[in-house]
Subunit: 308 residues, 2 copies
């Protein structure tokens, strides 16, 4: 799957992943109204609105981008109905040949991590059958448990040719509270990065590993160091756009070959129609606004990479 | 909810939580067979078997224990059908007046953590309505993101009078890989423990905080230190039984008042019928075997506390 991701990034020329993290406040009034009149102001109604919203954005962007990253929390808050739409979104994106990164940030002790790996990347055994549950292509994983929490994910990646992105340095303001603590003069995230590089050697694709890392766009200097510590890890970079990360900050996350990083934007793309810059599209054409935002983001990153 | 948990522990005299972490291999053949013949060897069939298994164990133990802890990963691996049974289990346990600790180990950056807090402890706004999704009483939370990943959970705890248990020192063998790294001579888990104490001061119940901690039974010496660092935090102690933690190891996790800790056992109780010790019950009476295992665990802990 890492080979497919790299190939799709090269084909589209867009190291971009669209974060499908829908909030009801991002959804245009008419879409909400239609869903609520069919299902009421219920979890089903909210789920239907999210599904119609996602579908429009996917239909308007899938040919420009290699991958999407649905954030499961945004679906989980609507309970079973929300998770049904998470699954429907994963399936639909795969039909459109997009690589699907399940932003699930799971992680636990060994036997439990194995169940999470099965849930999101693998197949569960029921009697004589082996059945997929959510079946994303990649999942994000929390490293706090250490190797034995990660190993079941790596095992599943090998079996299914899928991948993970391990949280190394997250994009949020307080990420330093624990991640930056100095151990013998070096921050914790560097040790986590070293482990990612080590785990990654166990399952290499053609040029990059099935084991990638998450490093926030909001910390470009740290990205520079982590890029060197984990040369074969694809870096998933959140924090571009709404969280403050800029194109120029991103260059440090890429390798010399112009590969090695994929930049996420969620609100900046899916709620583009709410920005003044894309107001001309109007709420009816919110999908077209998202398409324009993807093209602008692609240009911003390409320029930054040219000028480095 | 922390007040209810403490009151129920005092009433039952059992600082015990039963981990409802069903694996298909724990479920007696006749239960599996019946579910598969109704729904086939499908996700629905697996989910039905898990539900019947859980129900029997709950019916046989609810009067002895204060709380249950369903591990969501074990349900998530069966996709939507599995998560429906997670929800059904939560609801059924609440009907039985049990405190429900959702072992979900969620955590993310602020806005996403808010969605997870809503999913598991809060209410989501849909139009004019505020609706609960999974609606557990407590949730376990991963601290890797620092304060801004935790604050949305604390906000929801205050609003809903619910609680969280933050991972401090986990029970697995490689937990030390990052958690034990020394920062100015002190391990990371102590810094996390200090933060738990600090966050906990913001939302105190009568004698304990709504913000508790997870510390593995497998690390009793660390439990001793963490008990002092977080005097007002209830400690959820996994790792008893199948993972190797013994009654005598547990005393350090309790305060002088005999409170302050609740010990989890999963396999040791729900799969008791598979142990030689409880073989006399036979697979048909697996619920009664679980009941006997709860009584033995209660006695083991009570003895250890008497002898300290």
């Amino acid at each position: 799957m890492i080979n497919k991701l790299v190939a799709k990034i090269q084909k589209t020329g867009a190291p971009i992943v669209v974060g499908l993290d829908p909030m009801l406040s991002y959804i245009p009034g008419p879409v909400l109204k239609k869903a609520f009149s069919a299902y009421g102001e219920t979890l089903e109604g909210a789920a239907e609105a999210i599904w119609q919203f996602n579908k429009e954005i996917i239909d308007n962007t899938y040919d420009l981008i290699p991958a999407v990253k649905p954030q499961i929390a945004m679906y989980e808050q609507f309970g079973i109905e929300g998770l049904k739409v998470f699954q429907k979104t994963v399936d639909y994106c795969k039909e459109k040949d997009l690589v699907v990164i399940g932003d699930v940030k799971r992680g636990d002790i060994g036997s439990t991590s194995a169940a999470y790996a099965t849930a999101h990347l693998g197949k569960v055994t029921v009697g004589e059958n082996r059945i997929s549950a959510f079946n994303e292509d990649f999942a994000t994983v929390n490293p706090y448990f250490g190797s034995d929490g990660l190993k079941p994910f790596i095992k599943t990646c090998k079996e299914e040719k899928k991948g993970i992105f391990v949280l190394v340095k997250t994009s949020n303001p307080s990420s330093g509270e624990f991640q930056d603590r100095l151990i013998d003069g070096r921050p914790l995230y560097e040790y986590v990065g070293e482990k990612v590089a080590e785990w990654g050697m166990e399952c290499m694709g053609e040029s990059y590993s099935y084991v990638g890392a998450v490093v926030g766009a909001t910390y470009p200097e740290m990205g520079k160091i982590l890029r060197k510590i984990m040369p074969k890890a694809y870096i998933l970079v959140p924090g571009y756009g709404a969280q403050g990360g800029k194109g120029a900050d991103l260059v440090h996350f890429f390798n010399e070959d112009g590969l090695g990083a994929i930049v996420n934007s969620s609100r900046g793309i899916i709620a583009a129609w709410q920005q003044e810059k894309y107001a001309e599209f109007g709420e009816k054409n919110f999908g077209a606004a998202s398409r324009a935002a993807v093209m602008d983001m692609k240009e911003d990153i390409a320029k930054a990479l040219e000028n480095r």
